[in-house]
Amino acid sequence: MAEEKTQEYWRWPEYRYTVPGKDWHNAKSVTVGVDIGSVGSKAVVIVDGELYAYSVMRTGGVSEDTAIRVTNWALEGTGLKMANINYVVGTGYGRVNVPFAKKTITEIACHARGAHYIYGPTVRTVLDIGGQDCKAIRCDEKGKVLSFLMNDKCAAGTGRGLEVFADLISVPIADLGKVSLSVEQEPPSVSNTCVIFAKAESLALLRQGWPKEKVAAAYHAAMADRIVDLLTRVGVEKDFVTTGGVSKNAGIIQRVEKLLGIKALTPKMDPILAGAIGAALFAQALYEKELGLR
């Protein structure tokens, strides 16, 4: 199927970061969390329980390679070598494919723990909007999971759905949320179930001459409906926070807040890292356990 070359609106930027003014050389523990998601992969380095460095990139066709690439990238320029890492925990869809991980823990537990680190101990409900599914997690003051739910098939299609949609309306994925909020008046949302229907309906709306932002609003509203259905099923308790790549999309989050009548706490750091941070913190705990410190 010959394709005309079109701009890749869906492609989001990859990045890394080292927290300035930190030194790992005489740290008690240096641990790493690697979160191989269905769309994005993240690696986080924690030094004595403090965030030190991280990297975020697309998940490739071979998850081992991705795991290695994303971790090396996180270590890049820090002087850290694999040998300096005390413990690695893998999480996310590809968690079993992190060759150097000593243990794997699900992204459910890791996101709760990570959210607790990012937002503090008042967090009770975590919404993680990932690449291909959406999780609603209830946790306690320690960041421990009490109960959780994931979307059913008919309400699937989150991150990946947005990528497809970005292409559809030719708006860079990072701007989608903003664009969707630029309507004066909220249009009725598209079929609030299947991502396939939603896309077809959006296309039809575009063809009817709806402006991009109006279609984007209808699509984002539909996603918000889906997400709120999931949240109400697990039951929302304050404080409410969001994690995962899509949580940067204000168009979805603000609509979810409106439907719930609850404001989400604002993150102190990049919420896409929550899973990897949680994994790295579990790694620290596991390392201390090894040393017999707990």
Binding site: M1, E4, Q132, K153, R160, V195, R207, G209
Partner: protein, 260 residues
């Protein structure tokens, strides 16, 4: 006498100029947001390339999802419209007079048309919502596999392993694909699983109208070599893919125009 058929589908607009039983020109372009404009722009440029004047064209018939967008609306002023089902039947029958079953698989829609005497539609089936998005599914999955869309088909042919996958729902199938990726299944096999799933979805739909030989496959996905083998297997029938399969509906419309 020159006639024209314009097929305005979900993703592409295709045009066929037809004269004295022969195709004298083809043109194809992606559809932008303004369907009518995309269609008329292509129509104008196609006229130029084929060096034909609009008033030399006796009749223009539009077909496809968005056919109404140029129906007796300037500049194209298509005199008439016809459903893609009828257009498929007429077009396929013209190319393959022995055709009894026509299968058309495009970006969003799959169709099965049973045809009788003179290319008349006897029965037809179009995928329902829960089986939508054949072409699009391949594209999205190509992205997940980090493979070029056009390479998906050839890649799948290299596979030797069959992996059963949910045939009906794209979303369901997608999560199975991601599972396969992370359980280190070779891209070849995953790509085959994807094509098999679509083939079995299309065939199970076509089985509703029943498969009578000869079977003709048209539409964009017909150009994908990975799709044909599993479809043959599912229907256990030989499948004829005419030249320029993606233009068959447009051709059908042009022929209907010629019939007056």
């Amino acid at each position: 006498m020159i006639t024209a058929g314009v097929d305005i589908g979900a993703k592409y607009v295709k045009i066929v100029f037809f004269d004295g039983g022969k195709v004298i020109g083809r043109a194809k372009a992606l559809i932008g947001f303004d369907v009518a404009k995309s269609a008329s722009d292509l129509f104008e440029s196609a006229l130029k390339n084929a060096d034909i004047k609009r008033n030399n064209i006796k009749k223009v018939v539009a077909t496809g999802l968005n056919r109404e967008s140029i129906h007796s609306k300037p500049p194209v002023n298509a005199e008439d419209v016809v459903s893609e089902v009828v257009a498929d039947a007429v077009g396929a029958f013209h190319l393959v007079p022995t055709a009894k079953t026509v299968i058309d698989v495009g970006a969003e829609e799959g169709r099965g048309v049973k045809i009788g005497e003179g290319g008349k539609v006897k029965d037809f089936v179009i995928n329902e919502r829960c089986a939508a998005g054949a072409g699009t599914f391949i594209e999205t999955m190509a992205r997940a596999l980090e493979v070029k869309v056009e390479d998906m088909g050839p890649l799948s042919l290299k596979s030797t392993q069959a992996i059963p996958m949910n045939a009906q729902c794209c979303v369901f199938a997608e999560s199975e694909v991601v599972t396969l990726i992370h359980s280190k299944v070779p891209k070849e096999d995953i790509s085959k699983a994807i094509h098999d799933a679509i083939a079995s979805r299309i065939s199970s739909m076509v089985l509703r109208v029943g498969v009578e030989k000869d079977v003709v496959l048209v539409g964009g996905v017909a150009l994908n070599p990975g799709f044909l083998p599993p479809l043959k297997k599912e229907l256990n029938a030989d499948i004829i893919v005419p030249e320029y399969p993606e233009y068959v509906s447009a051709l059908g419309a042009a022929i209907i125009a010629a019939k007056g």
